[in-house]
Amino acid sequence: MSTGAMSRGAGGGYVQRSSSSGLAEVLDILLDKGLVIDVFLRVSLVGIELLTVDARIVIASVDTYLRFAEAVNRLDLGQSSDEGLPQLVEDMTSDGAQSKTKGVLEGAKESLFGSSDDEEQNGEEESQSSSRSRTSRRGALRCALSQTTAPRRWSASSSSAS
């Protein structure tokens, strides 16, 4: 957990709340795009920004596929309430698979990025993650990523447009 995170425990117990003044949270949000815009620089930053958005069409890497394969292989299916998978009951043999599975994707992430919690630290990480092929998203989400169309698209069905 990032150092700035503190559970407020407000309201129900299903949502983890973070201290909004924590440096980690604020940086997390500010760095979401991984791009700094200095309003006083006379550089064609707008052009770069568009490129950055488009460049988030990510081609999944072999490493990521292997991580997914490992995660699904080590999965101990015997624990789940899965009907229709009787042939996999054999997986109930305990070989520590559960604790390993829990950390497989995280562990791989740590070895790549060196972060010790599950919060993203830096927008640069996006380029190394897989399976977020943005152009393949459909419908509203795809529009939401385009900065100009999202508000209009959603506000068509909402009365709370600003």
């Binding site: 309201g11 949000i29 990521t64 394969a69 899965d82 508000p151």
Partner: protein, 173 residues
């Protein structure tokens, strides 16, 4: 503006920032006067996610069995293919779950900015612009939705925050 800007003194702040951008700053302040930002990140429980992918995709099940029956080296390309199938299945889930989350929360929000999740387990990372007097409603909608996803999706809520993700200032003078 995403980051603090260093300026040489009060006079520079007055002239270069405040005077030069007076109208724009005033417009932005009005736009956000009664609104806050809430950042939401929804993350999958890895085990549950894998369970669902296996349960819902027969080709994943088949390939998984095939891979498990072979020594690691022999199954290298199959593992890549398996991972690719899982990855695609997760992508579909992410789309569906993101849409469901947005559908639940959008009615309480004024604006939305969807970010890119930092790793494969992130279902949705988004910033919502919410009117202060609707924040409670927003929170309740989220709690209700999160309760229905317990064990499957974990939600992290950061806010209320200044509208970092929604402020826009144009470049230059």
């Amino acid at each position: 503006m995403r980051f603090g800007i260093v300026m040489e003194g009060e006079e520079e702040v007055r002239q270069r920032l405040l005077q030069a951008h007076c109208d724009e700053l005033r417009t932005q302040l009005e736009r956000f006067s009664d609104k806050v930002e809430v950042s939401i990140r929804a993350t999958y429980d890895e085990q549950q996610l894998m369970r669902e992918v296996v349960a819902e995709n027969p080709d994943v099940r088949r390939l998984r069995e095939s891979v498990r029956s072979k020594p690691e080296d022999a199954a290298y390309y199959e593992r890549i293919r398996l991972g690719e199938l899982v990855s695609k299945a997760v992508e579909y889930k992410r789309e569906a779950d993101s849409a469901a989350i947005l559908e639940a929360l959008w009615p309480c929000a004024s604006d939305l900015h969807v970010g890119a999740g930092a790793h494969e387990r992130v279902a949705l990372s988004a910033a919502f612009l919410v009117e202060r007097n609707r924040l409670h409603q927003f929170d309740q909608a989220l709690e209700g939705f999160a309760e229905g996803q317990a064990g499957r999706l974990q939600f992290k809520y950061t806010g209320p925050l200044p509208p970092y993700s929604f402020v826009e200032l144009s470049e230059g003078t």
